[in-house]
Amino acid sequence: MKYIALFIIALLFWLLLTFNLSISNIVVGIVAAVATCILFGKHFAVTSFSKLLQPQRYFWFVVYLIIFIWECLKANFEVAYRVLHPAMPIKPGIVKIKIDLKTDIAKTTLANSITMTPGTITVDIIDEYIYVHWIYISTDNPEEYSQKVSGRFEKYIKKIFE
């Protein structure tokens, strides 16, 4: 099952990359995809395939993508303001935030989202705490800043991956 999924993904990737539907091209793609499956199939990360076939997860993924891009743009202008301001109003530090996601892939997605939003960068995940370097710590209250950093993504990620 794992090998068949990897084979389909690799073949689609090859066809998109070359963008050419002649017979010889497809044969080369099949050979390359089989070689990829044999070499790297055991490292393929997806473990449960029933989740992969539920359509509402894809719907929430699209919603999450739109919200993520909007937050990304907004925060990017904020960082640009801090960089260009002559006095540089920054107050950096590392804060500790509790998350309640269970599976590994959900934690990874949350960490990647936090890293990709300008202003925050994930340093480490230990059990259920996540350590975030933040360029401007606005409040001292843990609940308030955990809402600000991870709360806006967490409920969508829970709907997509759990």
Binding site: F19, V79, A80, P92, I94, P118, I121, T122, Y131
Partner: protein, 108 residues
């Protein structure tokens, strides 16, 4: 269509410029990573999207579309690895820092 692509490319180069200014001005390693990695990644994604709009759905446009997720995940994981490596290496947080919760967690 070409106009939209052109505007996206200009916007991307503006973001790249902000990121590089941050790389020069900010005081310590962590803050430099903050501004530069993400502003520059978003700017380059914007340039690639501009190439997609400029050329339309052809070979070059599809390649630009493939390059966007690769660049996104690559830059994110690289930034995460760099921050953790710099902390373990012993680079101190800058003078302006107000808080460090990771110090206790790393020892235990």
């Amino acid at each position: 269509m070409e106009i939209i692509g052109f505007i996206l490319i200009c916007l991307g180069i503006l973001f790249n410029f902000f990121g590089c200014i941050g790389l020069i001005r900010l005081p310590d390693v962590y803050n430099r990573l903050q501004s530069s990695t993400k502003c520059v990644t978003l700017g380059t994604c914007s340039i690639l999207l501009g190439v997609l709009f400029y050329t339309g759905i052809e070979g070059a446009g599809i390649r630009a579309l493939i390059a966007i997720p690769l660049l996104f995940f690559g830059a994110t994981v690289a930034a995460h690895a760099l921050v953790k490596g710099a902390y373990i290496f012993g680079v101190k947080l800058g003078d302006k820092s107000v808080k460090d919760d990771y110090k206790d967690a790393e020892k235990s």
